[in-house]
């Protein structure tokens, strides 16, 4: 427990120090090293937590209430949070080291700001992972969302980045509304936020809740937003406007997996509502397939990776929905490692070439062989090639979905596996082996060691995890042989297809494109989702604004304008009776006296 507390305290300490001591923050590199040091300590502590056998939870009262605390906070270390801690701290640490080189052109105060955000993010994510209650999880969940917003909009002077940050914030907030509503409903039914108590009730079938399906659906909505599931996935590709290391850390390896983590964490509750589970699996599979098709036509290297992240998140969700949440969680962990590797590799390429467009790269293998090698390692892992990490987790996901009795989802995921291999190798062949396009003024070369170190470490980890499972067997789960063969065949087909189309070029792209033209048309336009959301946003917001504008302009202002116009006109009329001549006034007085006289004489007669 103490080590878990250290994991949480170190990044927070770094954040406080950097945020509250401006001289430290303004000296960018110093701030960076301080944050990295804290992160390294947190990583060590996380490792010892994981390897140690201290499992369990500590909670202390937080919000006082009648008859015991209304809400509690604490730490929960178990089989789910311990490996997650290691992943988060490891990727955070490597990304922070990498960023030091990647952002070396950044002015010092700006770099310091970056590390403030990074430390806050690490703290928030670790807090989320260690949460023993839904309420605490929600608090950190929102903090993580805030950090995501800040880091996507890190280059806030670029309009695209600012827009993307706002979009990410809004879209995820949409899901979070469901999340908080679900938590509160759960609390009002059971009176507790704590996982332990809730899961115990769920196990004993004594959960005093009506409409658990609604509650769990609402909680799942939070995961939909955060983990970029269809139809709220639109923010993730745009989030690539942030610096590449941020994309690697937050929008690939850690934060976006929070949704999967939430579903895995809440599994004892989700299994009580099969309908919601079926929805999770279906939406996950749909997300995986749609994102994969969009990745196939994307030409921005980071966006390809973003779509592939969405697709893999769909995988994890589908596994969780099919009742194999540990398979999904396993895929989460391995994916975190090799997707961080891919993003950091892409960052190195972008750093060297100065563009995101894969068609303006090409032939990079000759000039940056080390980057190319680690990128290919990551690509093979993502494609699911034996014996790399991705192969085992993906196979386990497929096996879990098959065992969960969802053949439809299984088929979709299998097709997605083929597409995954295809689009990743499309990027590899175009970027690293395509014809050497002129690179302009830039002379691409392998990045400095500060960037290369994390890349190599992640690549070695990807291979090592894979080898560990290849040699030690894939745990107690033994997927059927036909599944292994199938997944290898799918990966092989995808790679071969990419090779034939983009490397050997004896299969012209047009030949494949023509029969798939409708899909390509839709995928290139992102299935019109952005357009639809834009239309809804414009329609709803602008329509409402117009209504408000009408009320303000014609009712509120109109009333005042009428009043003022009539005052003016009345004043204009009344002005004319003031002639300024004393005798006219006397006429008035005399007339008034006459009226009074007449009144006194006749009208008041009883």
């Amino acid at each position: 427990m103490a080590s878990a507390l250290i994991v949480l305290a170190l990044p927070f300490g770094a954040f406080l120090l950097l945020a509250l001591v401006p001289p430290l923050r303004r000296r960018g590199t110093v701030a960076g090293w301080l944050s990295i040091l804290a992160m390294a300590g947190a990583f060590a502590a996380a490792l010892s937590t994981w390897l140690g056998d201290a499992r369990g939870s500590v909670v202390v009262p937080w919000l006082p209430g009648d008859g015991g605390p209304m809400a509690t906070v604490g730490l929960l270390v178990d089989g789910l949070s311990a490996p997650m801690l290691v992943l988060v701290t490891l990727v955070s640490l490597l990304v922070q080291i990498y960023s030091l080189a990647y952002l070396h052109d950044e002015p010092a105060p700006s770099l310091g700001r970056y590390y403030v955000y990074q430390s806050l993010f690490a703290f928030s994510m670790l807090g989320l992972v260690l949460s023993p209650t839904y309420l605490q999880m929600f608090v950190f969940w929102e903090l993580v969302g805030l950090c995501s917003y800040l880091l996507i909009g890190f280059w806030y002077t670029r309009p695209a980045a600012a827009r993307a940050a706002v979009k990410a914030f809004w879209t995820t907030k949409l899901g979070d509304l469901g999340f908080i509503a679900g938590i509160v409903m759960l609390w009002s039914a059971t009176g507790t936020f704590e996982f332990d108590a809730l899961f115990r009730m769920a196990k004993d079938q004594t959960l005093p809740v009506d409409g658990l399906a609604t509650i769990m659906f609402l909680i799942y909505l939070g995961a939909v937003g955060k983990s970029a599931q269809f139809p709220l996935h639109v923010w993730l590709p745009d989030a690539m406007e942030g610096p590449t290391p941020v994309s690697a850390l937050i929008h690939a390896a850690t934060m976006v997996t929070a949704g999967v983590f939430l579903v895995a964490r809440s599994e004892p509750l989700f299994v009580l509502v099969p309908g919601v589970l079926a929805l999770i699996a279906t939406v996950g599979a749909l997300t995986a397939l749609l994102a994969a098709t969009m990745a196939c036509v994307e030409s921005d290297i980071k966006r390809v990776l973003a779509y592939s992240t969405v697709s893999q998140l769909g995988y994890m969700m589908a596994a969780a929905g099919a009742g194999a949440s540990e398979a999904g969680f396993f895929h989460l962990l391995t994916h975190g490692v090799f997707k961080a590797l891919l993003f950091l590799g892409a960052g190195a390429v972008i750093h060297a070439v100065g563009t995101n467009d894969i068609f303006r790269m090409g032939g990079l293998w000759r000039v940056m062989p080390q980057t190319g090698l680690v990128f290919i390692v990551g690509t093979l892992a993502l494609a699911g090639v034996w014996p790399l990490a991705g192969f085992f987790s993906k196979e386990e996901v497929l096996a879990g979905v098959w065992a969960g009795g969802r053949p439809g989802v299984f088929v979709v995921l299998a097709v997605t596996a083929l597409l995954t291999a295809f689009y990743m190798f499309r990027v590899v062949f175009i970027t690293f082996f395509g014809h050497g396009h002129p690179h302009g003024e830039a002379h691409p070369h392998d990045p400095p060691w500060l960037m290369r170190g994390p890349l190599w470490l992640l690549a070695i980890l990807t291979v090592a995890i894979g080898l560990r499972f290849a040699l030690g067997g894939a745990g107690e789960h033994h997927p059927p042989v036909w599944l292994t063969a199938l997944s290898l065949a799918l990966a092989g087909t995808g790679i071969a297809l990419a090779w034939a189309m983009y490397k050997a070029r004896w299969l012209p792209v047009e030949v494949v494109q023509r029969p798939l033209a409708p899909i390509e048309f839709l995928a290139r336009r992102r299935y019109f989702l952005d357009a639809i959301y834009g239309a809804i946003y414009r329609g709803a917001l602008l329509g409402f604004s117009r209504l408000v504008g009408f009320v303000d302009r014609y009712l509120v202002d109109g009333l005042l304008n009428v009043a003022s116009a009539w005052s003016l006109r009345a004043g204009d009329v009344l002005r004319r009776i003031q002639t300024g001549q004393a005798q006219d006034y006397v006429y008035g007085v005399a007339f008034g006296v006459l009226v009074l006289l007449a009144w006194a004489q006749w009208w008041r007669m009883p």
Binding site: Q578, G580, A582
Partner: protein, 100 residues
């Protein structure tokens, strides 16, 4: 001796003549004279009623009014003279500084 009614008729006529003068005269001095007539109509009324009731307070009031009228005419004429000095006219039609 004529009755009260005759006095009142005279006073009323005098008052109306004064009002007419105030309303129709364009000369500021003429207006002042009209005011004078109105005040004296009131004096006749006061005296007539004092006589009717045998109460000398009414006479006293008439004396008061005469004294105040003197002061009023003095101030009024002074104002007219000042206006003449400033505006070179005492035509009431052209004294419309308060026009809205």
């Amino acid at each position: 001796m004529p009755g009260l009614f005759a006095y009142l008729v005279v006073a009323a006529l005098l008052f109306v003549i004064g009002v007419f003068g105030v309303l129709t005269r364009r000369n500021a001095v003429g207006i002042l004279l009209g005011i004078e007539l109105m005040l004296n109509a009131v004096n006749i009324n006061l005296v007539a009623f004092a006589r009717l009731h045998g109460d000398p307070v009414g006479l006293l009031f008439a004396m008061f009014t005469i004294a105040i009228t003197v002061a009023e005419v003095a101030v009024g004429l002074a104002i007219v003279i000042v206006i003449f000095r400033v505006r070179r006219t005492i035509d009431a039609d052209r004294l419309d500084l308060l026009r809205g």
